[in-house]
């Protein structure tokens, strides 16, 4: 199955208007949270499987992003997946340099182990480069716009003189890419995304990409929430609070980043002086007779301090700083999602107004309005669920991160 690229799900290229609203019924039945899942829904669904249907018989287009996410979110009983219940493991390792005529680049090995039924094999191992990860992320954003997609490490290195192929840079990137995939894996909705599966399994990703683009151009615009001039009256409190939080959060992280960088800089300057300090004791030792041993000893100790300090600074640069930056990127992308949500709500409100003004009863409009309304609700629900998850994860991450920093410092002093 991995060899033949699968056709894109039908929801992708269709415009939003053509999509049958999954919850649209002739009656104004409240289909929301009162929905009881059918036994079918509890099974992990296969990508090609379109047999799922709601209890009332309405055909459900499971590949519709709005529906699947909201449904699954309601199915999700426990946010924190235990290791035992996990059925998908992904790792990124083994970076290799490839030299071609046109360019030189690095690929990483992506290994997948899974028991999920929708995968043909229990294990996969493919090679991917940064471009591919970027593609995946874009696809996820497109196909799951109501969800928070984890960030990728920066595409371009701002520092200028950093070697793209240096060991430290490649390793830092590898860790970030690994984190990226693991976050997707942990996500109850994203991990079932088709693009994700293809990414993990396809031998030739480029062919799949091309196909996708071909289909796109054939079928017109993909699902995109048009940011067309809709002004939001007011953000609901909870989202406003999230927005404020994110603002302050990225601000604080930015400050911490700067502080950490400053500390590293000061430490390096300290190191420079220490490096001059140690040998002076040695010189003195050469001058003395009885004191030469203790003086040499001091010199050697200072040398040790230098090495330990170097290690500390390196560790901080490699482990601590990237994670901070990552979360700042995360916060940025989250803010974007919030904006999109605002857009959706604005559209909905505008349409509502339009109806009220026109006092017409066009058949499409109610559906339209309902569509919007539902989109908004889905969005909101997804966002909330994701936020909770994100908060938890973030807490864990930072806990680890800061503990790690503390540990490193402790080790330094012990040395």
């Amino acid at each position: 199955a991995a060899s033949a690229p699968k056709p894109l799900p039908s929801s992708g290229p269709k415009s939003l208007r053509e999509m049958p609203h999954p919850l649209a019924t002739s009656s104004s039945e409240e289909m929301g949270p009162a929905l009881t899942p059918s036994p079918d829904l509890l099974l992990p669904r296969s990508i090609a499987d379109k047999d799922l249907s709601l209890p009332n018989g309405t055909p459900v287009d499971t590949s519709s992003p709005a529906s699947s996410s909201s449904l699954l979110n309601r199915l999700q009983l426990d946010d924190d997946l235990d290791v035992e219940t996990r059925d998908l493991f992904v790792t990124v390792d083994d970076p290799k340099k490839h030299v071609c005529t046109m360019e030189t680049y690095i690929t990483y090995r992506v290994t997948t182990k899974t028991t999920r039924a929708e995968f043909d094999l229990p294990e996969y191992s493919v090679r991917r480069r940064y471009q591919d990860f970027d593609w995946l992320r874009n696809k996820l954003e497109e196909s799951q716009p109501t969800h928070l997609i984890p960030p990728l490490p920066e595409k371009f290195v701002v520092k200028g003189v950093v070697d793209r192929f240096s060991e430290e840079f490649v390793e830092t990137r590898r860790k970030a890419l690994d984190k990226f995939l693991k976050r997707i894996t942990d996500h109850p909705v994203l991990s079932f995304n088709e693009h994700f599966s293809v990414f993990l399994t396809a031998k030739d990703l480029n062919a799949y990409k091309k196909q996708g683009m071909a289909l796109l151009s054939k079928m017109g615009e993909s699902v995109k929430y048009v940011t067309g001039g809709y002004k939001l009256r007011s953000r609901p409190l909870e989202f406003a609070a999230i927005g404020d939080y994110l603002d302050t959060f990225s601000l604080k992280l930015g400050t911490i980043d700067r502080i950490a960088q400053r500390i590293i800089k000061e430490q390096l300057e300290y190191l420079v002086e220490l490096r001059e300090y140690g040998p002076v004791y040695s010189t003195w030792g050469g001058l003395e007779v009885e004191l030469s041993e203790p003086l040499e000893g001091v010199s050697a100790c200072i040398g040790n301090c230098c090495t330990a300090l170097e290690e500390l600074s390196e560790d901080m640069t490699e482990d601590f700083l990237p994670v901070l930056r990552e979360y700042i990127l995360y916060a940025e992308s989250m803010k974007n999602v919030l904006k999109k949500r605002d857009q959706v709500q604005a559209e909905y409100e505008a349409k509502l107004e339009a109806i009220a003004l026109k006092k017409e009863d066009r058949p499409k409009v109610p559906t339209d309005v309902e569509k919007c309304q539902d989109r908004v609700e889905c969005f909101n629900a997804d966002l909330k669920a994701d936020m909770e998850r994100w908060q938890n994860n973030k807490r864990q991450d930072f806990r680890q991160l800061l503990m790690g920093m503390a540990d490193k410092n402790i080790q330094y002093y012990e040395k």
Partner: protein
């Protein structure tokens, strides 16, 4: 150790006070006066303390004392005074002589100086020194009356001797070399140490910013809030701890400085030797010259070209009576010269012997002191690291509760 003053008497420089007064040029100035307290040790019996004598002295008086000692005992390595002006400062330390920290460290240095002199087997017996400790009024006059300034060798003379001496004792040459190197290495060390301290200060202080940010961050967090807040507190503690650490290190620096200045004292002894040796060589040369002259006059042969010889050839020779008179004068001079040479030789040998004895004593003292200083420095470093471990372990705990 012989019966030295330190054993009989407790000496402390216990206080420092700012004073204003008029100096020699009748200009108002501010200076610091130090209180010297002395108490006889032997009269302590059954918990009954002897009365404490005290008097005030200022730094310039200490300088006068030391100058006197250096001139009067040129074969002794005289303990140095603490620095006159703050040197080797890193930016946090003030270079101001009136700064309380500087004054405090100077007070300790002055006390150390007095104790060193008091423990020296020869110096402690000096009357002027004793008077310095016990007699407030009229001490300056007493010192000046000794006329020691006249005994002082001019700098120029000493410099001249250093260049022209032909046969100094090898040991002194080596010692001079050593003290030059020691001076250079210690001052290099102190300079770098000051820079190191500066940088370390920077590192610690920036961590204080963490405290502030964590605090602000914790305000917007729910579950992470408490952990962040307490961790921030620990960062503040960490940042504050550097002040004490560096203050302790200053004491170490002071110990090194003492030996930096001691190197100068060593050099002074070597210079004295060179001077004496040069004097000796000059005297010997002079004597040889005179002897030669005598011989020439007596035998009538002119061995060396001299203006006298030429003029006498041109204008006629002297009368035998004149010659006789000259020879007699010369013979007297030669006798004097020979006696002088003998005594100078003796002086020189005595000097070398006693100087070398004191140098040996000094070497032992130096090795002992510096070893202790290095050990205490290492201890300081270890304690600094322990504190660091403490702080970060606490912080870690806070983080783990997030």
């Amino acid at each position: 150790m012989e019966d030295c003053l330190a054993k009989k008497m407790e000496i402390t420089v216990s206080e420092a006070e700012k004073r204003t007064g008029r100096n020699a040029m009748n200009i108002q100035e501010t200076y610091t006066a130090y209180l010297i307290e002395t108490r006889a040790v032997e009269s302590q019996s059954e918990g009954q303390c002897a009365p404490v004598d005290s008097l005030w002295r200022r730094y310039s008086e200490f300088e006068l004392l030391r100058n006197y000692l250096s001139v009067t005992y040129p074969h002794i390595v005289v303990p140095p005074l603490p620095e006159k002006r703050a040197d080797f400062v890193w930016h946090k330390l003030s270079a101001d002589n009136m700064d309380p920290d500087f004054v405090e460290r100077r007070r300790i240095g002055l006390e150390n100086f007095l104790l060193r002199v008091a423990s020296h087997p020869i110096l402690c017996q000096d009357k002027i020194f004793y008077a310095f400790l016990t007699q407030e009024g009229g001490w300056k006059e007493m010192v000046n009356e000794t006329g020691f300034q006249l005994k002082a060798d001019s700098r120029l003379k000493a410099l001249n001797a250093t260049f022209r001496v032909k046969n100094p004792d090898k040991r002194f040459t080596e010692l001079k070399h050593y003290s030059d190197e020691l001076q250079s290495v210690i001052s290099h060390l102190l300079r770098v140490r000051a820079r190191v301290a500066d940088r370390l200060y920077g590192v610690y202080k920036v961590h204080g910013n963490y405290g502030r940010v964590f605090s602000e961050w914790s305000a917007i967090e729910k579950e992470m809030g408490d952990g962040l807040q307490s961790a921030g507190h620990h960062m503040d503690v960490y940042a504050a701890s550097i002040d004490d650490i560096l203050e302790e290190e200053e004491h170490y620096a002071d110990q090194l400085k003492e030996y930096l200045f001691y190197a100068e004292a060593l050099r002074a002894v070597c210079r004295k030797h060179e001077l004496m040796q040069y004097d000796l060589e000059m005297a010997a040369q002079d004597l040889t010259c005179k002897k030669q002259q005598c011989e020439e006059l007596a035998t009538g042969t002119v061995r060396t070209f001299s203006l006298k010889g030429m003029t006498s050839k041109l204008f006629g020779q002297e009368t035998p009576e004149q010659r006789e008179a000259k020879i007699k004068v010369l013979e007297e001079q030669i006798q004097e010269g020979e006696e002088q040479l003998k005594s100078k030789n003796l002086e020189g040998r005595d000097f070398v012997k006693s100087a070398w004895a004191d140098i040996e004593r000094f070497k032992e003292q130096k090795n002992h002191d510096l070893k202790e200083a290095l050990i205490s420095y290492a201890v300081m470093q270890i304690s600094m690291c322990k504190k660091g471990i403490q702080v970060w372990t606490n912080a870690k705990e806070c983080f783990s509760k997030m």
